[in-house]
Symmetry: C2
Subunit: 177 residues, 2 copies
């Protein structure tokens, strides 16, 4: 379980509403963490019940009140406990590779066009991550120091996407013949 800790990490940096967290997961850290809004709101409720987070309502007109969540001392304790504990390596379940493994049983044009579709998506992701990197590299060295750990995770995203695209070249080679 770790959506719990992903949220605690985000709230440890600064307070966020559920909606904010959703945007973070979609826009800035989606290359290493994903969650749907239903999952986030449910988890926030649980964390609140456990008193690891607290919230203040921000009244808005025409919209539901915005609940701004902040981490509590108990939350910080739990986060530190988790940070010190070993974490299992990432488990991969990749449906595209299942398809390719079974490609003998399908028309290869279908598989080939599927790969092309995925290449486009991965290329877009890479471009987006490279733009984030450019933004980081334009910061002052002091600010760069502040964001060095998030930047390291961004590097993982970039190197991961680059490797994926290099593999895709091998794949298209094979499907061309």
């Amino acid at each position: 379980m770790s959506l719990k800790h992903a949220i605690l990490v985000m709230l440890d940096q600064k307070p966020h509403s559920g909606y904010d967290l959703l945007q973070q997961f979609k826009e800035s850290v989606g290359y290493f963490w994903n969650a749907k809004h239903q999952q986030i709101y449910r988890q926030l409720k649980i964390l609140h019940d456990e008193e690891l987070i607290a919230f203040q309502s921000e009244i808005q007109s025409g919209k539901p009140d915005k609940k701004i969540y902040a981490i509590t001392q108990q939350g910080k304790d739990e986060l530190l406990r988790w940070l010190k504990e070993p974490v299992a390596t990432n488990k991969i379940n990749d449906a595209l590779l299942v398809k390719i493994y079974g490609a003998d049983s399908a028309p290869i044009e279908d598989i080939a066009s599927e790969i092309e579709r995925h290449i486009e998506i991965h290329q877009n992701t890479l471009n987006y991550l490279l733009a984030l990197e450019k933004k980081y590299l334009s910061l002052s060295s002091n600010e760069q120091l502040n964001f060095r750990y998030p930047y390291l995770t961004l590097r993982r995203g970039i190197l991961g996407e680059e490797a994926w695209l290099r593999w895709a070249e091998e794949a298209t080679q094979l499907f061309k013949k």
Copy 2:
């Protein structure tokens, strides 16, 4: 959902028992698909109820009967339908990166040793995959042709692990200072 299709792909190549499938997932295709035995046995039961697979019992002494599952025509139809259908790109939830993102809140020695531990695991995985590749490359060109799609997935595993380890070098650099 796709354990269903991962199993169908495996059974489409040749019949397997639940235990066999578990070994496959652990040993040969674990770099793209993972499942626990409980999940596999449950899924096999469901697939059997849906008549996508059938089994024959192999009587053994001192052990439970081995159920050898094979794909049915209906199963092949379902597999083909799925193979032709687009698949969503892989969603990543990586707890190690969550930790690094929040590394400001933890003793860096803990994070650094955690990364070292992961490097060892990834290096072992890479070595294992390279050994599998060596085996493939020693096959006759005819046999290589037969296994070209599984080999392509293996290449994905290798390129993925290599990229991970290159990233880990950047990470250790940062944690050394």
